[in-house]
């Protein structure tokens, strides 16, 4: 109990920042990789301790002193970062993904995969997920949008699609932030701010028709970097922190409809893709949109489902992306025009592909199953049409996964003179993911209960005793009961 009150969250962010600076000065690839693993591992340990400290504080109640914020109060006068029911599991999940990506980076990929970039992105991810102040969050989202530009420029790839979309995103976000900042108990201004922020969030989440930047990003960026940038669903976090507290119901329905269409459209597009990267981009989009669908339904069950699905997406789709990356590092960019028959040369990769892929579509016994089941329950409870589309989307995603599995691993005889099996480091990553995905699937209750508490905190923040003190005077006076989420 003694070490937990230390500012682990702040330490995690500082270590990631320090790591980025340190590794940028290391020229030897192996050495950089070792440093990268050490730094991301230390960040993961800190975030886990921070999260553990939060839950211990939850259980022990007011007897324990608040474990966070003291350093920030000392430095900035008030805490801007902190953990609550919503972000307590998200922060370590994001750190875990960065750590696993660094560990699984093959030698062939070390030159392309920038660990400095990864640690910089980790700083932004952790800060974003830990941030509960709208203005700081807007600032972090704006700065974070510039990160992919570095990758595009480093790889000498065209930036126009990304810049166009992100310019709109940043403009809308900042405009929404300005209106929000000037709003004092004015429903009309709240609505304007909500519309602007929502439009920004929809672009960031890749909702149709503003989704092309995601396929472009996956096609032109390094797979690992592209994966790390999008997979933690920062847009969804922004939606919960910025939009949900002030959005009127009609606007939420609007998000819901657009997200629902995107989920179905992206699942259908994933099914007909002929390149692995585009397939992954659409597959990811479909899942991200399903999370948004759950959010807009704004019932306890649907919100619990959306938040659980969000965690499941980070772990399962993150793992799935890492498996595809491992495949690419062995066989180069893979086309889905023909059957490859890779199973005989890399059976563990095939098993990992199936495990993570099926977990992402909510196959029974995996982490995503209960989330998917809850989402269907919540969607059908709200509207029959929404429920049917969610079920159809799940079915299409399931077919898409096995289609790609059969195309990549069966249907032909692949000849190779060298071993293409997983290395020890990749094996560790696969086993870690397997334990998390199957363990979370067999014993889902703790995860679901935690997400339920987070959903209740979103719906009715005053009833949640777990929120750390983060005064947000601008928004606490809003008439909507959701407004008090941001404090």
């Amino acid at each position: 109990m003694i070490p937990l009150p230390l500012p682990w969250l702040e330490a995690a962010i500082l270590i990631a920042l320090l790591g980025a600076v340190t590794i940028s000065r290391v020229r030897n690839l192996d050495c950089a990789w070792r440093w990268g693993v050490a730094f991301t591992g230390a960040v993961l340990a800190c975030t886990m301790l921070a999260s553990l400290g939060f839950y211990l504080q939850e259980w022990t109640g007011p007897k324990t002193a608040p474990s966070h914020g003291s350093l920030q109060v000392y430095l900035f006068g008030r805490p801007y970062l902190g953990l609550d029911e919503l972000n307590a599991p998200l922060v370590p999940a994001a750190a875990l993904l960065h750590f696993l990506t660094a560990v699984a980076t093959a030698r062939t990929k070390m030159r392309r995969f920038s660990l400095t970039w990864s640690l910089c992105a980790e700083v932004f991810h952790l800060a974003k997920f830990a941030c509960t102040d709208p203005m700081v969050l807007i600032g972090l989202l704006t700065l974070g949008a510039a990160l992919p530009l570095v990758e595009f420029i480093n790889r000498n790839r065209p930036i126009r699609v990304y810049v166009l979309h992100m310019s709109m995103f940043v403009a809308l976000l900042l405009a929404g932030g300005v209106v929000l900042d000037q709003t004092v108990n004015d429903p009309a201004r709240n609505t304007i701010a909500a519309v602007l922020l929502l439009a920004a969030v929809l672009i960031r989440c890749g909702v149709v028709p503003a989704h092309c930047w995601i396929t472009d990003w996956f096609e032109h960026g390094s797979f690992g970097i592209a994966l790390l940038y999008v997979i933690s669903l920062s847009g969804v976090y922004a939606a919960i922190r910025l939009v949900l507290p002030i959005a009127p119901d009609w606007l939420l329905h609007g998000i819901g409809l657009m997200s629902l269409l995107t989920a179905f459209y992206a699942a259908s597009m994933a099914l007909i893709q002929r390149e692995v990267r585009r397939f992954f981009a659409y597959f990811f989009l479909s899942h991200a949109s399903l999370v948004l669908v759950g959010l807009q339904l704004h019932t306890a069950v649907a919100l619990t489902a959306a938040l659980s699905l969000w965690l499941a997406v980070i772990l399962s789709l993150g793992g799935f992306g890492l498996v595809l990356r491992a495949l690419e590092s062995r066989f180069g960019p893979l086309s889905l025009h023909r059957y490859h028959g890779l199973y005989e040369h890399s059976p563990m990769l095939a098993v990992s592909f199936l495990l993570t892929g099926l977990a992402s579509v909510g196959f029974p016994g995996t982490f995503g199953f209960v989330a998917a089941d809850l989402l269907v329950e919540g969607a059908l409870g709200a509207n029959l049409f929404v429920g049917l589309v969610v079920i159809a989307t799940g079915a299409l995603n399931g077919i898409a996964i096995l289609r790609v599995y059969f195309l990549l691993f069966t249907g032909a005889r692949h000849t190779s003179s060298v071993s293409l099996e997983l290395g020890p480091r990749e094996r560790i990553v696969v086993l870690t993911l397997a334990i998390l995905l199957l363990g979370g699937g067999i014993f889902p209750q703790p995860g679901i209960a935690s997400r339920r508490r987070a959903a209740e905190a979103i719906l009715n923040p005053s009833s949640s005793p777990s929120h750390p003190a983060r005064p947000m005077p601008r928004l606490t006076i809003l008439p909507s009961p959701r407004a008090a989420l941001i404090r």
């Binding site: 065209p158 126009r160 699609v161 166009l164 092309c212 396929t215 472009d216 459209y265 259908s268 597009m269 099914l271 007909i272 893709q273 002929r274 390149e275 019932t299 306890a300 069950v301 619990t304 086309s335 025009h337 059957y339 028959g341 199973y343 005989e344 059976p347 563990m348 098993v351 099926l358 196959f363 029974p364 016994g365 209960v370 089941d373 809850l374 269907v376 329950e377 059908l380 429920g387 049917l388 079920i391 159809a392 799940g394 079915a395 399931g398 077919i399 096995l402 289609r403 059969f406 691993f409 069966t410 249907g411 032909a412 094996r427 696969v430 086993l431 889902p444 209750q445 679901i448 339920r452």
Partner: protein
Amino acid sequence: MPDATALMIWLGGVVIAAPLVLVVFLGVSSLLDFRLSEQTISKSIQAAIRTGLLAALSVLTLMLVSGGRHVVVDLGEWVETEGFHARVMFVFDRLSVPFALLSFVLTGTIAAFGTRYLHRERGYNRFFVLYAVFLLGMLTASLAGTIETLFFGWELVGLSSALLVAYYQERLGPARNGLWIWSVYRASDASLLLAAVVMHQMIGKGEFHYLLGEAPWPEGQASATSSEAFIVGLLLLTAAAGKSGLVPFCGWLPRAMEGPTPSSAIFYGALSVHLGAFLLLRVSPLLECSPALCAVIVVLGLGTAGLAYLIGSVQTDIKSVLSFASLSQVGIIVAEVGLGFRYLALVHLLGHACLRTLQFLRAPSLLHDYHGLENALGQHLPRPMLPLLRRVRTSTRASIYRLALERGYLDSCLTICFVTPFVALFRRCDALERAWTNWLLGTRKRTPEQKPAPPVRMEELV
């Protein structure tokens, strides 16, 4: 007899635990890349099946001795949150115990056959991992006391089935057919999921006894109205039709024969193909609430039986003949369920599964048997024609022949009505998106989509 009940519950736990331990053992060693010898795999399977079978037999004996007809193994709430809960519960009654025993006996037989049939095959370990998953799925589905538990087992059976069809994975055909089957399964599983959620909305719980009545099967009285029963029953019927290959989904059955003979026998001759009929038997108290639903089931069952007979008559390989013969019997079993003959359907199901397993296992040596018979007779074996067909005109007979050869045009209909428009629409969307992105980029990049696309077929999509 409280002691007997406790013992039955404990033995019931063993029935479930045996295949679960087998899956964990084979699955974890595969995941750790720890290569088990053929002998170890074979012995572990034998041990699991013998333990499970012995425990199931003991449960049956104790049920007969004690007079208990309904033993519940309740593992408690799996997920519990306000507005949603899922319970893991297994029920041993007059329906599930015979089916569980059948599963153990037939999988044990197939395991003994398979260990020799697949000796020194490269995919030996893979086959038996999937086989163990299938066994767990069958046991879970047959003993399920809640719809969530049933769904869990149902999905395991579907996944192992699709992957075993693609067992010979260096060939194109098995991969395509595996995906076809998976697609049909996913569509029907979506229906089962919908049924589960509708059931939750109706009664707030997923336990069967809340919906089908507290009395042991088949005496339960469902607490649903006629329209509720029709909706839930229709969704369950769709799920059953997908899993059992009833009309209009029967096109996948011959495709499933691409798998090795042991898996064909256990899946499409014996157990998996009967799972749909089993589901209808399980919810038969619900079917009683809706005569219209019963009529639909009877029509579907008889239609499937007739069509399967016709299609089976023109097949040229023994496994396809057997699969359609199997399907025609499944159709009749479904019709029996619809007509309310529950025990008849159960006995029919058990007998048919055993007979068809034997026939499938004999299939590889069929030509040898035929040659022996023809040598003994001194002439070719007679090929009788259906008397009804003799009376129809030649042109009509040709049409029927063609209908049978084309398998009732069902696959073509599914392809033309659903697959082709779907693929064409979204390929068009993909081309438009690429054009839009290229325009934004200011390039005229040649992308794979601009290459001439091959003709759209179901196999190409799925």
